[in-house]
Amino acid sequence: MSRAPELEAVLLAWFELETCAPAEQAVHKRRLDELLDAAVAKAGMKGVSRRDLMMALREQYGEFAKARHIEQRQRLSRLR
């Protein structure tokens, strides 16, 4: 499925934050926040917070995360 590169980058950063090690949380959270802020600023939309944008992206994130988890599972099963 093709998506806008900015959208793809946000979904990836979000997924990485939820799957990274504890000691990498701050780095990944900063990355996600920066991407969300940049997307809202570029669009010039007033009154949209990072959290609003994440709420709006819930379905897209669900599909993205599902595909990534399935991919990771298949990769692991090939290694075994």
Binding site: R3, L7, P22, K42, R51, A56, E59, A65, K66
Partner: protein, 141 residues
């Protein structure tokens, strides 16, 4: 019906671990760093259960309820730990490499998770934001 019996033990297990952590934290049983590490372990269990029952499967109403409850417990413990960390001047350097900022970031993201899964946003507002920011329509964009 069978599916319900398969689903509950996972949430019950995460809930039990989180509840035990709450007791340990209130009793100050293990010290700050071990409590932070335990919190991260229960967060990992929560994310794993979320993945299995909420992302890879279509969540049932009871999954949403358990998700909401366990999430609230994790946030409450996280806030207790945040206050304790503040009082102690933060985490000192440790073998696991976890910093106070890592803990704060993980806790903040739980509030995002709460808003994303359990917050209210109309489909019209979602569509407006997605169109305005990413120039896309609907869930399949």
């Amino acid at each position: 019906m069978k599916q319900t019996f398969e689903l509950r033990p996972r949430w019950d297990a995460v809930g039990l671990v989180v509840t035990q952590n709450t007791r340990d934290l209130i009793d100050k049983r293990y010290g700050l760093l071990p409590e932070v590490v335990s919190w991260f372990k229960s967060l990992a269990m929560f994310r794993e259960t979320e993945r299995e029952l909420m992302i890879l499967k279509e969540p049932r109403p009871e999954d949403r309820d358990f998700h909401k409850t366990v999430l609230a417990l994790l946030i409450a413990d996280g806030e207790r730990l945040r206050a304790a960390l503040q009082a102690a001047g933060g985490l000192s350097a440790n073998e696991s490499g976890i910093s106070t900022a890592d803990f704060g970031a993980a806790l903040e993201h739980l509030y995002d998770t709460q808003a994303v899964w359990h917050g209210e946003m109309t489909s019209e507002r979602k569509a407006e934001i997605l169109r305005g920011v990413f120039h896309v329509e609907g869930a399949g964009a």
